[in-house]
C-alpha cells in the first residue's frame, strides 16, 4: 500500500531504508526512523484502538510520551508484548502490531455498544447499581466488567528478555536534551563537571527539531547536532538517548531506564533489553520541557483530533501529513507554526483562533502566506465516528459563554493547541514545592527540596533566548560549586519569533440543546459532564474527583488531562486553581518495565544459595535438599524408590542402632574472644557461664528483652579468653547482630570481639552407639574414651594430619560427637568418616531423620522456639539463673508468662499407636463439640518414633505438666483427622539422658 500522506522530502527519516510491517494483519511500509504511529499515519491509518469505558474509536493524539492512548499489542522476537505506545515504538523490519480492547476488531467493536448506553453509565455508576441480587456482583456482573476491562494481553510464559542494572555517580544529571538541557549540559561539561545527559527519544534536540529558529548563525537543529557531537566526544560526559529518567528518589538518587534493543527486530542473548541506571547525582537539572494542552469541545476524542505540536512533529521529523484538510484550533501563537508548516507543504489549513484579532510575528507570517485565519472562532463539535469528517464551528462571544451561528466545514483533522503545561513531575517527586503561574495557567516548580534546578519550558520559560540564558547560567553555577573551575561560556544569540499573549479560554460551551461529550481524559473516557456529576454529588476534593471519575488514572497518568480537569473544578467551585490544588506526582513518570526494576535476580537466582563444603558429595549421593534459610541442607539420602518417610526412618533407625553422620556445617558459629568474654556470655545467656572450665561445652538459651526465647546452642570454652559459640542455622545472623548491639551500645566497657566462623569450619555430627568406636578409628592417637572425652568435653587433635576439633555434644540424644575441620578439608573429613564408618554400618542422615531423633528426645527446636514461646513454655526454665541478671530476665515476671494457664511442652502419642498426628493439629478435650472448639494447644512437631516404632509428637498445651496421662484428641480439620491421643512426657526416649553420657 502506498504512503499517501508521506511528504516528498521533509523529515529526519532515512528514506533510503524502507521497512515493512503489519498492523491488524495488514501489510504496510515505512522508513527507518519512523515510529509505528508516524508510519501508520503516512499510510492514512488513524484508528488505533478503543477507549476504556465506552469503547469509542481512538486515534493518535500526540507524537510521543504525551499521547493519552495509542496502546497496541506488539509482536517482537516471537514475544507478544502488551500496552506498547505506538507513538514511542520505533519501526523495525517485520514489526507486527494489533489494536487492543476491541472485539471482534477495531473497526467493528461489540464493546462499542457502551457508547450508545453512555448516558446510563456516568461517573461512578457502578457504585449505584449491580447490588441485587446479592450474589450477582461476584458471579455475574464483575466477571463481565473484568472481561471488558484491561487493554493488552499477557501470556503466562516467563519473560525471555534480559534486564540489567547499573549504579552511577555524577556531578550533574540533566533530564532532557532540548535547548535548555543541551545548554546546561554544555556549559557544565565545559566547566569540568562529570555530566550525564538523558534523552527519552531516539533523537536529541527536543523542540529544536521542529521549531523554526536560529541560534547564532545556525538553525536550531544544526546547533543541537553540533553541541551533541561535541558532548559525545568529551571524556567527562555520558550522553544517552532512549533513556527515560522516571523517578526522583531520596538523597538525589534518580532512576533512568535505558532501552537498548526495543527498536531492533531482535537482540543477541547477552545484550539486555533495558538497563536500569541508579544515578546518584550531586546536582540535577530538570529540562524535561512541556506538553501541549488540548482544547475541549464536542467529541474532541474523535480520531483525527490531535495536538498541533504533534501535527508539526509528524511533518518536520517524520515527513508525514496528519491530514490534507486541516483545521488548526488554538488559543495561542504556537499553533501558527503548525499552520505555516502545512502551508509550506502545499496544504491549506484553516486557523480558528479563540482570541480577538491581534498581531504577532507568527500571525503576520501566516497572513503573508495567505492562510485563512478566523479570529474569535471555535470548534464546537467534531463530526465523524472512526475519523473526523467535518467540524461544527462558531463565533464565540467575548466572555466565551455564547456561540454564534453554527457553520459546518469539511476537514480531515483538527489540530488543537490550548497552550503549554510544564513537565514538573521530577521536580515534584523530589519533594519540591510547586506554584501556580497565572501567566501560563499552569504549575511550575517553586522551592526545591533536594539539589535540583528546573530550566527551560519545564520551568515555564517559553522564550528560547531566556531559556538559553538561564540554562547556560545554571550549568555554569552548579558545576562551579562542584569543580571550582571558572570557565564561563557566552550564550549564543537567538533569532526567534515573538509570541503574543495566549487566551485563558480552553473549554467550548455546549450549543443549546446539544449533549456532546467533551472529553478531558481520552483513555478513561472522563468527560466534562462526569466531573460535574462528581462535584454535584459532593466529591469536591480534587482527590475525590479523581477517584470518583478516574480522571488522570489511566496509563498516561493524565499528562494531557489533569490541568484541564483542575481548570474545570476551579470554574465550577469558583476557586482559583491553586486552591483546588493538584494531586501528588509519584514515580514513575511513565510506566516502567517490572523486569527492568528487578534486573537479573530472577529464577534460581532470585536469592543467593549457601552451600556447605560437602555439598557436591551430598549431590553425588542422591541427597534430596531442603531450604534452611538461604542454605541448602540434605533432607534425606534417597535409596531406590524410597519415600521421605522410608528414608528418614531408615536413617534415624541406623543412628539409634549403629552410627550415622550428619552435615552440621550450617549451624551458626561465632568466635567470642576477650578478657570479658565469660562475663559477656553470662549476660546474654540465661544460665551461668563464669565457671565453665576450659575444654568444656555448655548448653545455653538466649532471650529477647521481651522474654521470648531467641535462640539456643552449645558454647565451648576453647581457651581462657576464647569461646566457640554455636547458634541455630536460622538465627545465626540475628544472633551476631544482637551480640554486636550489646557490645557496641549497651556494654561498651566489655573487651570482647565477636566474629562469625560459621564457614571457617566444616562440621560433621557422628551419632549412635557405635560412634565412639568409629571416632577411635578416625583418631587413633586420641583418647576417645568416656574418661578421655567425657560428655560436653572438647579436644583439639588431628584427622590424618588435618587439624580437627571434637566436641562431645548431642542433638540426637545418642552418644554423639561433632567433628570440625577447616572448610577446605570438609569433603576429605566426610569421605574419611564414611570410608572408615562402613564397618560400623554408618549412613549419612539428613534433617528429617535429625528431627525425628530430636523430637522423640524432646529437644526443642525451631518449631517450638517460634518467636512466641518463653522458657517456661518450652521447659527451659531450669536454665533461668536466679542469681544473676541477663537479657530478658525482667520480663520473666509477666503475669501471662507465669500463669498456670500458660501453655507448656508435652509429648503426644496416638492411642492406636499407628496414626501419625499431622503437624499443626490442635489438642482438644472434645472432638465433636460445636465450633468454635476450645483449643488446649497445638502440635508443634511430629515423627515416627524409631525407638518405639509408633508415632510421637510434641505439643505445647495449656497447663501441660498436669495434662500428662490424660486422654485427649488431636484434631486436624484440614486433613479431616480426629485422633484419640494420650499426653506423655516430652522426653519420650531416654528421659534421664543416660545415653549421651554413656
Amino acid at each position: 500500500m502506498s504512503q499517501n500522506f508521506r511528504l516528498e522530502k521533509e523529515g529526519l527519516i532515512n528514506r533510503s531504508k524502507k521497512i515493512s510491517f503489519k498492523f491488524n494483519g495488514k501489510s504496510y511500509f515505512g522508513y527507518e526512523g519512523d515510529t509505528l504511529a508516524s508510519a501508520l499515519i503516512a499510510n492514512g491509518v488513524h484508528l488505533v484502538g478503543r477507549s476504556f469505558k465506552y469503547h469509542r474509536p481512538r486515534g493518535f493524539f500526540g507524537a510521543g510520551v504525551d499521547d493519552p492512548y495509542a496502546l497496541v499489542q506488539l509482536i517482537r522476537n516471537n514475544e507478544s508484548i502488551p500496552n506498547v505506545k505506538a507513538t514511542e515504538q520505533e519501526l523495525f523490519e517485520g514489526l507486527e502490531a494489533k489494536s487492543v480492547n476491541c472485539w471482534p476488531n477495531v473497526n467493528f467493536d461489540i464493546g462499542g455498544i457502551n457508547n450508545f448506553l453512555r448516558i446510563f453509565l456516568p461517573a461512578g455508576f457502578y457504585y449505584k447499581t449491580f447490588m441485587w441480587p446479592k450474589s450477582f456482583w461476584y458471579k455475574i456482573y464483575e466477571p463481565f466488567i473484568r472481561k471488558a476491562a484491561g487493554f493488552g494481553v499477557v501470556s503466562h510464559e516467563p519473560d525471555k528478555e534480559r534486564y540489567e542494572h547499573k549504579y552511577e555517580y555524577c556531578d550533574l544529571l540533566i533530564t532532557g536534551s532540548g535547548p535548555s538541557g543541551l545548554a546546561s549540559a554544555y556549559s557544565a561539561a565545559k566547566n569540568g563537571a562529570k555530566v550525564i545527559l538523558a534523552e527519552d527519544k531516539p533523537r536529541f534536540g527536543g523542540s529544536l527539531l521542529t521549531s523554526d529558529v536560529n541560534i547564532g548563525n545556525e538553525s536550531g537543529k544544526e546547533w543541537a547536532d553540533k553541541i551533541i557531537t561535541e558532548l559525545k566526544g568529551m571524556p567527562n560526559v555520558v550522553v544517552k538517548n532512549r533513556a527515560q529518567v522516571f523517578g526522583y528518589y531520596d538523597h538525589n538518587m534518580l532512576v533512568m531506564s535505558e532501552r537498548l534493543t526495543e527498536h531492533l527486530p531482535k537482540s543477541d542473548k547477552f545484550t539486555p533489553k533495558q538497563k536500569l541506571w541508579y544515578i546518584r547525582a550531586k546536582e540535577v537539572v530538570i529540562s524535561s520541557g512541556s506538553i501541549e494542552r488540548p482544547l475541549v469541545f464536542g467529541n474532541n476524542d474523535t480520531p483525527g483530533v490531535l495536538l498541533s505540536s504533534a501535527a508539526k512533529e509528524y511533518m518536520k521529523v517524520y515527513g508525514v501529513l496528519v491530514g490534507k484538510k486541516p483545521i488548526i484550533f488554538t488559543n495561542n501563537d504556537s499553533a501558527y507554526e503548525t499552520a505555516i508548516e502545512f502551508k509550506k507543504n502545499g496544504v491549506d489549513p484553516i486557523v480558528l483562533d479563540s482570541r480577538k484579532e491581534l498581531s504577532s510575528d507568527l500571525i503576520k507570517e501566516a497572513k503573508s502566506l495567505g492562510i485563512n485565519i478566523k479570529f474569535e472562532y471555535v470548534v464546537v463539535n467534531a463530526n465523524g465516528y472512526r475519523k473526523v469528517k467535518s467540524a461544527d464551528i462558531a463565533k464565540i462571544s467575548d466572555d466565551k459563554t455564547t456561540l454564534g451561528k453554527i457553520e459546518n466545514i469539511v476537514c480531515d483533522c483538527i489540530c488543537v493547541s490550548g497552550f503549554w503545561t510544564p513537565t514538573i513531575h521530577l521536580a515534584s517527586q523530589s519533594g519540591g514545592k510547586t506554584k501556580f503561574n497565572e501567566e501560563i495557567d499552569a504549575f511550575i516548580p517553586s522551592e526545591s527540596k533536594q539539589n535540583e534546578t528546573t530550566v527551560g519550558s519545564a520551568n515555564g520559560i517559553f522564550n528560547l533566548q531566556d531559556s538559553l540564558n538561564t540554562s547556560f547560567e545554571a550549568g555554569y553555577n552548579l558545576s562551579k560549586k562542584i569543580t571550582n573551575e571558572d570557565n564561563k561560556l557566552s550564550v549564543p544569540t537567538v533569532v526567534e519569533k515573538k509570541n503574543s499573549k495566549h487566551d485563558k479560554f480552553w473549554c467550548v460551551p455546549l450549543p443549546k440543546g446539544k449533549k456532546y461529550k467533551r472529553f478531558l481524559d481520552f483513555q478513561n473516557d472522563v468527560a466534562v459532564s462526569d466531573i460535574e456529576i462528581a462535584i454535584r454529588e459532593g466529591y469536591r476534593s480534587i482527590e475525590h474527583v479523581k477517584r470518583y471519575t478516574t480522571l488522570g488514572m489511566a496509563t498516561d497518568q493524565g499528562k494531557t488531562s489533569n490541568l484541564n480537569g483542575l481548570q474545570l473544578v476551579s470554574n465550577i467551585e469558583n476557586k482559583l486553581v491553586p486552591e483546588v490544588g493538584h494531586t501528588t506526582f509519584r514515580p514513575p513518570y511513565t510506566p516502567v518495565s517490572i523486569g527492568a526494576i528487578v534486573g537479573r535476580e530472577v529464577g534460581k537466582h532470585s536469592k543467593p544459595t549457601r552451600k556447605s563444603p560437602m555439598h557436591s558429595w551430598h549431590e553425588k549421593n542422591n541427597a534430596v535438599f531442603v531450604d534452611a534459610g538461604l542454605w541448602l541442607r540434605p533432607r534425606f539420602y534417597k535409596r531406590g524408590n524410597e519415600t521421605l518417610f522410608d528414608a528418614s526412618k531408615r536413617e534415624a533407625e541406623n543412628v539409634r542402632k549403629n552410627v550415622g553422620v550428619c552435615d552440621v556445617t550450617t549451624l551458626g558459629k561465632i568466635d567470642v574472644k576477650g578478657p570479658d568474654a565469660a562475663e559477656f556470655l553470662n549476660r546474654v545467656y540465661t544460665n551461668a557461664w563464669l565457671k565453665l572450665p576450659v575444654g568444656k561445652a555448655r548448653y545455653g538459651v538466649m532471650l529477647r528483652e521481651d522474654g521470648i526465647v531467641m535462640d539456643d546452642g552449645t558454647t565451648t570454652r576453647v581457651s581462657e579468653n576464647h569461646y566457640h559459640m554455636t547458634t541455630t542455622t536460622a538465627q545465626a545472623a540475628n544472633v551476631l547482630s544482637h551480640l554486636e548491639y550489646y557490645l557496641q551500645i549497651v556494654w561498651p566497657e566489655l573487651n570482647v570481639n565477636v566474629v562469625s566462623t560459621t564457614e571457617q569450619w566444616a562440621g560433621a555430627a557422628i551419632a549412635g552407639p557405635k560412634s565412639r568406636e568409629l571416632l577411635q578409628k578416625l583418631f587413633p592417637d586420641t583418647d576417645c574414651s568416656n574418661e578421655g572425652l567425657p560428655f560436653m568435653g572438647f579436644i583439639e587433635t588431628k584427622l590424618f594430619g588435618v587439624y580437627a576439633r571434637i566436641f562431645r555434644i548431642s542433638f540426637s540424644g545418642e552418644l554423639a560427637y561433632e567433628v570440625n575441620v577447616e572448610s577446605d578439608y570438609g569433603n576429605f573429613m566426610w569421605e574419611k568418616i564414611i570410608e572408615i564408618g562402613n564397618e560400623f554400618k554408618i549412613q549419612p542422615y539428613g534433617t528429617e531423620a535429625l528431627s525425628t531423633l530430636r523430637i522423640e528426645m524432646g529437644h526443642v527446636a525451631g518449631s517450638e522456639l517460634d518467636g512466641r514461646t518463653t522458657p517456661f513454655d518450652t521447659s527451659l526454665d531450669g536454665l533461668l539463673s536466679k542469681k544473676k541478671d541477663f537479657i530478658g530476665k525482667r520480663s520473666m515476671q509477666k503475669e501471662a508468662f507465669i500463669s498456670s494457664k500458660r501453655e507448656k511442652i508435652v509429648g503426644v502419642v496416638p492411642l492406636d499407636k499407628k496414626t501419625s498426628i499431622p503437624e499443626g493439629s490442635y489438642i482438644v478435650k472434645d472432638a465433636n463439640t460445636k465450633l468454635p472448639n476450645p483449643k488446649l494447644g497445638h502440635v508443634s512437631a511430629s515423627c515416627w518414633s524409631v525407638e518405639y516404632n509408633n508415632p510421637f509428637s510434641l505439643a505445647i498445651i495449656k497447663d501441660g505438666k498436669n495434662m500428662i496421662g490424660q486422654k485427649l484428641f488431636a484434631l486436624s480439620p484440614l486433613k479431616n483427622k480426629s485422633i484419640p491421643v494420650e499426653i506423655v512426657s516430652s522426653h519420650y526416649v531416654d528421659p534421664k539422658g543416660e545415653r549421651v553420657r554413656s
Binding site: N83, Y127, V154, P591, I594, R868, P973
Partner: protein, 418 residues
C-alpha cells in the same frame, strides 16, 4: 435519602443526571457533640455509622484533617480475609467478614466485595506445617480454610512458577476461599453517605491542634476550625496516632512505618485470586480494571512520608517475579505509600484509655482495611457502652505489660521487620 438502584440510574439518565443528591454534606462544626471521632478514614467513618445505627448516637462529628478516605482506606491493596492463627484475631476478622458480605446492601452503595479467595503459598514442608497450624485454628474457629498441595495450586494458578528454574519451589498453600477484595474508596464513601444521612457531621479540612483534658476527663478538642466540646472522643487516625498521643502526653506501643504498593498497567483478566508469596513479602491480585495490584514490604525505617523508596519496591517485585514470572513483561504504572501504626505484637489496639471519655483505636499495622467494619462496630460499642466488647477484649492496651501478646508472626518488637 435517595436510593441507589439501576432504576434510579435510568431515571436520572433522562434528566441528564442533574438530580443526584450529595453523598454527604459539608457542615460547619457545631459547638459540641456527644461523640467526636477523630479521623475520617474507613475505621472512623464506620465507627460513626455504627454509633448511629447500633447505638442511636447521632450527635456525632467526624473530624478529618484532609479529605475523607484519604488515609490507608484509600491507599491499600483492598484485601479482605480472616485467615489468622490467634483465636482473638480470627474471631474478630470473621465477624468483619460477615459485615463485609452484606455491606453493599446495608449501605446501598456497591463496595464490590468480591470473595475471590486468597492463597498463601508455602515453599517448604515446615511452612506447610505452619500454615496447617493456622488453617486448623481457623477451621476450629468456624472459618473456612483448605490446605492445597502443589498440583492443586497448579490447577488454580498455573501462571505461578512451577518450573525447575526456581529458587523456592511451591510445595502447596493455604487457601481461604471466602476471602477476597473490595473497592476501597467505596467503603469510605458508603459509610460516609449513610452516617451523614443519620445526622453525623462529616467535617473535612479540619485539623486537631490539641485536647482539653480536665481532671483526667476529656472535655473537647481544639481544631483549625475552632474549639469543639464533646462528652466522648474516639481516636481513629492510623499512622498519625503517635502524633495525637503526644498532644495527650501518651506514649504507645506503636511505631509509624511506611508500606508501599504499586499497580501495573491494565491487562486482560488472567489472575482471579489473591495470592501471597511464602518466601518473602509479596502479594498480588488483579483489579476489575485489569491492573495487577501488588504489595509487599515496609520501607524498614520509621516514616511519615507518604512516598516510598526504590530498594523496597525492587525487593518486593523481585519476589513478585519469583512467584509470577509473567509479571516481568508488564510495566509498573503507579506506586504509592501508606503510613502504618505498627504495634509491638502486630495486632491492633481498641480500648479505653486512662483518660475518662477518651478511646483508642490504633495499631492496625498493614492489615487495617479488612477489619474496617468490625473495627468500627466494636469501637462504636466500646465508646457507647464505655466498655470493651468481647470481640475486642483481647485488643487491650495493657496486654503488653501483662504479656498476653497476640504475635501472629513471632517477630517481637522489631516492628520494621515485616
Amino acid at each position: 435519602m435517595q436510593k441507589y438502584s439501576v432504576f434510579n440510574l435510568i431515571k436520572n439518565a433522562f434528566s441528564g443526571h442533574q438530580n443526584w443528591e450529595v453523598a454527604w454534606k459539608d457542615p460547619t462544626p457545631k459547638k459540641s457533640y456527644d461523640v467526636i471521632i477523630i479521623g475520617g478514614g474507613g475505621h472512623g467513618l464506620a465507627t460513626a455509622y455504627y454509633l448511629a445505627k447500633e447505638h442511636n448516637i447521632t450527635n456525632v462529628a467526624i473530624i478529618e484533617k484532609g479529605w475523607i478516605g484519604g488515609g490507608n482506606v484509600g491507599r491499600n491493596t483492598t484485601i479482605i480475609r480472616s485467615n489468622f492463627m490467634h483465636d482473638a484475631n480470627g474471631r474478630f476478622n470473621e465477624f468483619s467478614m460477615d459485615l463485609w458480605r452484606n455491606m453493599s446492601q446495608e449501605l446501598n452503595f456497591n463496595v464490590m466485595f468480591s470473595p475471590r479467595g486468597i492463597i498463601n503459598l508455602a515453599h517448604s514442608d515446615a511452612q506447610m506445617n505452619a500454615y496447617a497450624r493456622r488453617g486448623n485454628s481457623m477451621r476450629l474457629n468456624g472459618i473456612d480454610a483448605v490446605l492445597l498441595n502443589r498440583e492443586e495450586i497448579k490447577k488454580i494458578i498455573p501462571m505461578a512458577d512451577f518450573s525447575d528454574d526456581v529458587r523456592f519451589p511451591i510445595f502447596g498453600g493455604l487457601m481461604q476461599p471466602s476471602a477476597g477484595t473490595a473497592r476501597h474508596d467505596a467503603v469510605a464513601w458508603g459509610y460516609a453517605r449513610q452516617a451523614d444521612s443519620m445526622g453525623v457531621d462529616i467535617i473535612q479540612n479540619c485539623e486537631v491542634l490539641g485536647f482539653d483534658v480536665v481532671g483526667g476527663k476529656i472535655k473537647g478538642i481544639r481544631t483549625s476550625r475552632g474549639d469543639i466540646k464533646a462528652k466522648k472522643i474516639g481516636l481513629c487516625v492510623a499512622g498519625s496516632t503517635s502524633i495525637l498521643a503526644e498532644k495527650l502526653n501518651m506514649t504507645l506501643p506503636i511505631e509509624t512505618h511506611l508500606l508501599q504498593a504499586c499497580v501495573s498497567e491494565p491487562v486482560k483478566p488472567l489472575l482471579d485470586h489473591v495470592v501471597t508469596f511464602g518466601a518473602g513479602h509479596f502479594y498480588c491480585s488483579q483489579s476489575d480494571k485489569g491492573e495487577m495490584v501488588m504489595g509487599g514490604d515496609l520501607d524498614g525505617y520509621n516514616s511519615y512520608a507518604q512516598r516510598g523508596n526504590l530498594p523496597t519496591l525492587q525487593h518486593v517485585l523481585t519476589e513478585g517475579i519469583a512467584m509470577f514470572p509473567f509479571l516481568s513483561k508488564l510495566k509498573m504504572l503507579r506506586t504509592w505509600g501508606g503510613i502504618m501504626d505498627m504495634s509491638m505484637d502486630g495486632s491492633p489496639i481498641i480500648d479505653k484509655t486512662h483518660i475518662e471519655g477518651l478511646y483508642l483505636n490504633c495499631g492496625w499495622c498493614y492489615g487495617g482495611f479488612k477489619s474496617t467494619p468490625a473495627s468500627g462496630w466494636t469501637f462504636a460499642h466500646t465508646i457507647a457502652q464505655d466498655k470493651v466488647h468481647k470481640l475486642n477484649a483481647d485488643y487491650n492496651l495493657n496486654r503488653f505489660s501483662k504479656g498476653y501478646l497476640l504475635d501472629e508472626k513471632g517477630l517481637g518488637t522489631k516492628t520494621w521487620i515485616s
